[in-house]
């Protein structure tokens, strides 16, 4: 049975890295004393080592050791032997390119589907969806495909942002962009606001946190779903 947390963001405004997720992590990683961290999204261009150190500091209070996936001579074998995983945010194109080119997307998917706990934030959550095609990130590198793990039967739009009233900017709103996605694709999209996360356990999928999320289904008007709601209908 899959056990997964896909969070909109790692960090809430004014808070420390992963601070608001500590209780969730304690539940998700119960009984786990070491995880593999996937640092490939490199937010702001941070090095794999520095990013892994940042993640390790946030897992230390839980008594969980963190090892970067980039440090293994045989990362696919390391994934199959790991107790659990965390993929940090950053640039989704970079993350997806690296995972595919190192042929690690399928091993990671298989390990998570076998029941090993997985947490993603932002880009790390995007790869839990069907594809990375509803990321907000800039295409700074060219991945061999946009397909991701499909741990859930829909796509995420992390850091979902409502239109800002009175802003005279004419660039597309997030809602317009997701509408454009649905002119070309039918995969449902969950607009996940900062502070919200998707929780997968015992075959159910739930919207967690305190905020509602915005649901986009092809051919339907977007609508809000309250925190605590089941997402199992969305496919």
């Amino acid at each position: 049975m899959k056990h997964i947390v896909l969070a909109s963001t790692s960090t809430l405004f004014g808070e420390a890295y992963l601070a608001y997720l500590q209780p969730v992590m304690a539940t998700l990683y119960q009984g786990v004393d070491e995880i593999i961290f996937v640092p490939f999204a490199r937010p702001g261009g941070i090095s794999h080592d520095a990013y892994t150190a940042k993640a390790a500091a946030a897992f230390a209070p839980l008594g969980i050791r963190v090892t970067g996936l980039h440090t293994f001579a045989d990362p696919a074998a390391a994934i199959s032997q790991a107790q659990g995983f965390f993929t940090g945010g950053g640039n989704t194109f970079l993350l997806v390119k690296q995972l595919h080119e190192l042929q690690l997307m399928q091993p990671l998917k298989a390990a998570v589907e076998s029941g090993k706990p997985y947490m993603g934030c932002s880009a790390g959550s995007n790869i839990g969806g069907i594809s990375m095609q509803t990321t907000n990130d800039m295409p700074i590198v060219y991945p061999p495909t946009f397909e991701t793990m499909g741990l859930i039967p829909f796509n995420l739009n992390p850091h979902y942002l409502d239109p800002i009233p009175g802003l005279p900017h004419m660039g597309e709103t997030r809602e317009t962009r997701i509408g454009e996605f649905h002119t070309q694709n039918t995969t449902p999209v969950l607009g996940l606001r900062e502070g919200s996360w998707v929780y997968v356990k015992d075959g159910t999928i739930t919207l967690e946190g305190t905020l509602s999320a915005r649901i986009f289904e092809a051919g339907k008007a977007p609508y809000e779903l309250e925190a605590g709601s089941s997402l199992s209908f969305l496919r």
Copy 2:
């Protein structure tokens, strides 16, 4: 000699489509009575026909007829015979995929480099750069490559948006995203605010409009460049 306008946006807040660009268009398309419109970016999923009609209405006051590129049986031949071009905004991934798959990116580049006037707005401006890798758009389709026409020796970031003070949103700012681009690429990037455009004529490249633009060069701190400045140094 190339004669090109690459605008940040088609439409200023509260104004009609292409209204602020009418004087620029009168100069760019002087002596031209018909252009080809490239409708492939399909903003909001609008049809090729509907988008072409919208462009035609904005060109009518100049006495210029507009024909959609999608209407030609042999679009490559049509490009080689055309008097000039306009590519509208929308989704850059869709635009680039279509141009490459129909093998029209190179013919369009060749025609513009032969001196035929070209105007782009937003996505239509992105394809004037080296690559589409600094677009703001969502990757709703998978193009065969991110390379574009390279009519100018740098990339654009249209609808350039400064950080909004006091916004507690933790998603990346535009400046952070472009910084991430430069961890992987060395192509300079021009952050082009709405109301600004790049003007190429007689071998010179100039920043036009009333606003400054933000210049991003790999390994340097970003800086502002005043309207009216030459951009010929940027490569």
